[in-house]
């Protein structure tokens, strides 16, 4: 267990571990980045320690200094960054004072590292075997043949099937999850005592995330490694960590064992992180998002760094930086727990309730009937069609006015293509899309105008969806000009001003360029652009997946409010089931181009009938104090098959624990589970009866 016992009123940065010998000890670590006369301090006095065999999670939003802390431990900081002070000791060695030559044997040898983006962490022109062998020859001084044999064992230990033949494959021949496994194998090559995992599963689908987390936990137990896990995901922390440290604006603000932290998070910031999480229990109420964002780190702080965003801040918080306070097994830097301060009761603030949105089913605004989008695969000089990528293969959906329909599935299942096909941005190969009963497929640009006025889209990546050369005002105005709504210039400008005020920016921001805004603000601008033509429906393609949890909460609140005010219908394309539980009226689960389960959110998520839906739900790490590291009841093995060549019979059968002969031969027909809940599975009844989600 990580030792976080400390005396109240200790020195400035005084976490003093009493434990006999932690493997990694970080004391008062400070990193400064100097550029053009400004000094930014991304890590400002961070202290923690990790014992062998333990996992310590650094938790916080982006820009809090988590990754910088990890890089500083490895002395891999970018050129402009300098370690200004503090101590890092690894098994008794003072890392910050080791000569660079010895540091090289520490990196990749005693300390292994796994990065967030497996796609860019592997060298694309080297086989994975060569990359692993390189590490083995360097750190373990193995010969070529021995290294290859060891590499094969490593690939096997990270669960890559057919390890022997896959050694000679290149990174592009692996899926994202498999690449991350290769990265882990490389990190293990030097037999590290400490494994640093920097957001190891953030870029992965939830089913793959579950596999990778299990793998990491298993390997850690097996090898007795210490692990520093950097994440913004409370679910991942709950599943993996023994100890937790919450980072905010370059400082640790709370540390403690997982159990205690999840039962009673102490610091107001940690509480906000919990309150900002969307889930089914908060349906119909506002998410309690912390206002604003992480402060710029180039200033000298006098008071508590969280004070300006803290609802419980009082005068002392502005004047005096809080010291560590011991509360039970946890330590927190907050004046609220100081005996000198006036004690105040702390409540988890409950969000203001919303009025219930119009729940009537209504006439469908959008109806999709047997939609198929196939992309031909061409080969050879004559560009002959040699196959079809069946991105969407027979999808039917109905979306009523004022309703929210969530389209859920792993990446690559075709959900974005459905969204774009509804907007006629992709041509349908078969089937039809109706808006208010009118077929929209194959219409000319002019004939599509009524639909364009009513159906708008918000894209996933707020950095790619706004033209960098246009001012915000021009971006929002564009749709109004193209569609000839909102009248003449001055009246359009008034609309833009009103929209900017509505989404929480000021009207004067119309003159700015997109790059001057943060990700969350850009996504608001994208929503304003969609709203400018007063649509009935907005297709939202993973609008919050690129955002931090607190920013996501702000955005979801805004979207709920707008839905209530304007009676908007949302088609919400996402892989985040927590968001679905929070927001959706209906859920459609998509697998390899087809809807496999469809129905009211409460029924689909509460009593999932399809094994795939259940696997998706089980793969979400649960956030509860008592959550154990046990495997979920029905984990999905392996990856999503290629839509170029879907498996025969039920597409899901190769990954399904219930699959039998019939599943391998015939695609299941749709059957009703009552209450509008429909599913395509041969085992729907059995699955719903006997294998209900355990909760």
């Amino acid at each position: 267990m990580i030792d976080t016992v400390l005396e109240a009123g200790d020195t400035e940065d005084g976490v003093r571990p009493v434990s006999a010998g932690p493997l990694l000890r970080v004391e008062g670590l400070k990193v400064v980045i100097r550029s053009g006369g400004r000094a930014v301090r991304p890590v400002d006095g961070v202290s923690f320690s990790i014992a062998a065999g333990e996992t310590f999670a650094l938790l916080g939003e982006s820009g809090c200094g988590k990754s910088m802390t990890a890089l500083a431990i490895n002395r891999l900081l970018p050129d402009a960054a300098v370690i200004e002070g503090g101590e890092v000791s690894l098994g008794g060695d003072d890392i910050l004072r080791l000569p660079e030559t010895r540091m090289r044997s520490v990196r990749g040898g005693r300390v292994g590292m796994v990065f967030q983006e497996p796609a860019t962490s592997l060298n694309p022109v080297m086989t994975v075997g060569a990359q692993i062998c390189e590490a083995l020859q360097l750190h373990r001084k193995l010969g070529a043949a021995a290294a290859r044999a060891e590499a094969r064992l490593l690939l096997e230990s990270v669960g890559i099937p057919g390890a022997d033949s896959r050694l000679d494959d290149y990174p592009f021949q692996f899926s994202g999850g498999m690449k991350q496994r290769v990265m882990i194998a490389m990190a293990l090559a030097g037999r590290p005592e400490l494994l640093i995992a920097d957001e190891p599963t953030t870029a992965l689908d939830v089913t793959i995330q579950a596999q990778v987390l299990d793998l990491l936990a298993g390997l850690q137990a097996e090898r007795g490694m210490a692990m520093l896990l950097i994440t913004h995901d409370l679910g991942v922390v709950a599943r993996m960590a023994h100890g937790v440290g919450v980072m905010y604006a370059g400082e640790l603000v709370e540390t403690g064992p997982r159990q205690a932290f999840f039962q009673t998070p102490l610091h107001p910031y940690a509480r906000k992180l919990f309150a900002a999480l969307p889930d089914g229990a908060r349906r119909g109420s506002m998410l309690d998002a912390p206002v604003g964002s992480v402060p710029a780190l180039d200033q000298a702080f006098t008071g508590c760094r969280f004070a300006e965003r803290c609802a419980q801040a009082f005068d002392r918080c502005d004047d005096e930086s809080p010291r560590w306070q011991q509360v039970g097994s946890q330590a927190v830097r907050c004046h609220l727990y100081d005996a000198d301060s006036v004690p105040r009761p702390l409540h988890r603030t409950s969000g203001a309730a919303f009025g219930q949105a119009d729940a009537s089913a209504g006439t469908p605004l959008i109806e999709v009937r047997d939609l198929a989008v196939h992309f031909p695969v061409r080969k050879g000089v004559l560009r002959r069609v040699v196959g079809q990528v069946r991105a969407v293969d027979g999808v039917s959906l109905r979306l009523g006015a004022g309703r929210t329909l969530a389209l859920v599935g792993e990446s690559g299942c075709g959900k974005t293509t459905v969204g774009k096909a509804i907007l006629q941005l992709n041509a349908a190969s078969a089937g039809a899309v109706f808006y208010k009963g009118e077929n929209q497929t194959g219409l000319t640009r002019e004939a599509l105008m009524p639909m364009r006025r009513a159906v708008q889209m918000v894209f996933q990546d707020p950095f790619a969806s706004l033209n960098p050369r246009l001012r915000v005002g021009e971006i929002i105005e564009e749709g109004m000009v193209s569609l000839g709504v909102a009248g003449d210039g001055p009246s359009r400008r008034r609309t833009v001003d009103a929209l900017l005020e509505r989404i929480g920016l000021s009207a004067s921001m119309r003159w700015r360029y997109p790059h001057e805004f943060s990700g969350g603000q850009r996504q608001r601008i994208a929503i304003a652009r969609a709203l400018a033509v007063s649509p009935d429906v907005i297709v939202c393609d993973e609008p919050t997946s690129a955002l931090d949890v607190s920013v996501q909460a702000q955005l979801l609140n805004l979207m709920r409010e707008l839905q209530r005010e304007r009676g908007l219908a949302y088609l919400f394309i996402t892989h985040n089931l927590a968001v679905v539980e929070y927001l959706a009226d209906e859920v459609a689960v998509m697998y390899l181009g087809r809807i496999v389960e469809h129905g009211p959110a409460a029924r689909v998520l509460g009593a999932p009938a399809h094994p795939y839906t259940r696997a998706l739900l089980d793969a979400v790490p649960k956030i509860s104090a008592g959550s154990s590291d046990s495997l979920p009841a029905l984990a999905v093995a392996s990856d999503l098959p290629s839509p170029l060549d879907p498996p025969a019979g039920c597409h899901f059968h190769p990954r399904c624990g219930l699959a039998s002969d019939i599943c391998r031969v015939s695609y299941p027909a749709e059957r009703s589970m009552g209450g509008g809940h429909r599913v395509r599975c041969h085992w729907a009844d059995a699955s719903a009866r006997g294998l209900r989600r355990p909760d």
Binding site: S465, R469, S482
Partner: protein
Amino acid sequence: MNTNVSLTLPAPTAKVEAIERSPGFWSGVIAKLMRDPVALGACAVLFALILIAVFAHQLVPSDPYQTSMIKRLKPIGFDGFPLGTDELGRDMLSRLMLGTRLSLFMGITPVLIAFVIGSGIGILAGYAGGLINTLIMRTIDILYAFPSVLLAIALSGALGAGIGNALLSLTIVFIPQIARVAESVTTQVRGRDYVEAARASGARPFTIVRVHVLGNVLGPIFVFATSLIAVSMILASGLSFLGLGVRPPEPEWGLMLNTLRTAIYTQPWVAALPGVMIFITSISFNLLSDSLRSAMDVKS
């Protein structure tokens, strides 16, 4: 600051809004260039060259066409001829100054014309995609297959000597190069979400190209074209050197280099002067295009 938009604002708020307004893209680029000593130096050199070119007839110290058999091939610093004389006894300084005109003209004009035509072709191919793209780009590739020097010589040779034909052949040489760059940048931009968003709000293809594509592709193409100016000057000099471009007695640096080559053993420094001018000018254009490239690199 761009005032034409501010003018349409209601008068009382105009001032406040103007303060909140971020500088435009191009004024940002200019501001960055102003802080870049290399770019400023290159600009100063080019500006001086342009001034010399425009006012050459007023500035020349003596008649650049005046020959003299007794004062042939005098060294640098010779009395009355600060940069010496050429093989016909003409004042080198005056000829170099007047030569700036034709050399700059031959450097800039073909690139400018090719920039307009090549960008048009490239953007059309990139935005249209599919079969149209294949047809246009494969045709372009055929021209691209010839080395540019060879193509320029072959075209000039076929069309006959003279400034007009040299310009034409140089333009033809540069069009495929610019079209290639334009096509690849346009193809990238076309796939961006903001173009999809514009389509989703019913914008016409022409509007999308004008607002979303042009704004984002012209910068990179412009940078590339700037770097071509130096190439164009050198190629034009080469054509004149071969007798396919400017004809004597008009002063042009490439042609001067050609006629002075016989004097390389008697007056090497004088003979090298036109080459020095070509070098200074082309390196200025290259440095400017490098600075432009980094100045236009908007962080996003």
